[in-house]
Symmetry: C2
Subunit: 186 residues, 2 copies
DNA sequence: GCAAGCGATGTCAGCGGCTGTCATCGCGCT
DNA sequence: AGCGCGATGACAGCCGCTGACATCGCTTGC
């Protein structure tokens, strides 16, 4: 097995996710991940840039979905409303709350992974700001709206994960945006 | 030299800063930093948790100054105004623009360092949110105000560094806050 | 069918970040 | 003078990550 079995990348991601959950991220060796996937350490690094990246494989999809939603927003929509609309589409990408919970538990356990998460969110903000500029929004407004949008996402996502209630992520995002508006008013 | 010379930590930080600037962060070895400081690699790691941390030595001071300003803000001040007041005190901590520029150039050159910077900013936001909660601000509002405040700081600091004009950092912060309010209005 | 070509994987050697452990040094205290 | 203690050195070793080259197995052109 290994050389000819299909979907090496998927097997590696699966093995990594399992091991990070079972023994913890720091206690897991890349060699162990590769072994469980029936592959070699060297091959792991051909599919993922580093030991962290395997947990963030889906982030481009989230980013593309957000950017597209901003670009496609109604021409007359104000920047904040374009971002709001975009954030509400996120619910269709992030559906499996239990999976997100497990993944987040791993990430929160290690500073190294928190750092990686933050740079992904920063890339998100940067991409959204670009999309806003493409709509003609001036630099400063674009950057601030995008950063504020990501802040809203961060807070809402955290509550979605932590919550025991059955509130929808979109709903929490809506609440967070309203609260942001309330807090910055005046 | 070495064993008895004073201020080992300072010498290490100085050597690291110089070498990161001269050859670049990735091309610099911890052993080289230690050698320039007249010390050993092992000793470097006794003073700094890792190769990145040496560039972020001053961040606790910034954080303490921000938190204190939030706590000390007028009792009747709204959360956003407390944070605004706090951000305006930052100018007294960050004075040397040329130094900040050089430091930022190094940080921006490497993803590893950008990650570290982001987690420092996240810690800032977290501390500010705590301070707001201690003022009686509810959770959601505290988190969002703190995140928004840090976003403002990020954008303003970036413009302060990049700018050729002689605009004060406090001034740029004020502008960014006003723009944030404008953008979230409605 | 078969050989050439090609992409994916294996193997090996090596660097650098980081840590544990123990020895050593220099200083202050008594 | 001797003792104790904090800071440094010396050494060994793990692990993340990379470059270089060999090997495998499938596809393609003939």
């Amino acid at each position: 097995m290994g050389r000819w079995e299909p979907n090496a990348r998927g097997r590696l991601a699966q093995a990594a996710f399992e091991l990070y959950g079972e023994r913890g991220y720091e206690q897991t060796t890349v060699a162990e991940i590769a072994k469980r996937a029936g592959l070699t350490e060297r091959t792991f690094f051909r599919h993922f840039a580093d030991k962290r990246e395997v947990l963030f494989a889906g982030s481009e999809i989230l980013q593309e979905s957000l950017v597209r939603a901003v670009v496609d927003a109604h021409e007359s929509a104000a920047p904040i409303d374009a971002v709001t609309a975009a954030l509400e589409t996120v619910g269709s990408v992030l559906m499996d709350r239990e999976f997100s919970r497990r993944r987040q538990k791993v990430i929160d356990s290690t500073a190294e992974l928190r750092e990686r998460e933050l740079i992904k969110l920063a890339a998100l903000a940067s991409a959204v700001a670009d999309a806003l500029r493409r709509r003609g929004v001036p630099d400063l407004a674009a950057s601030l709206t995008a950063e504020a949008g990501v802040a809203v996402f961060k807070v809402a996502f955290e509550r979605w994960i932590a919550g025991t209630d059955e509130k929808d992520l979109s709903e929490l995002i809506r609440e967070a945006i309203d609260e942001l508006k309330a807090v910055t008013a005046g």
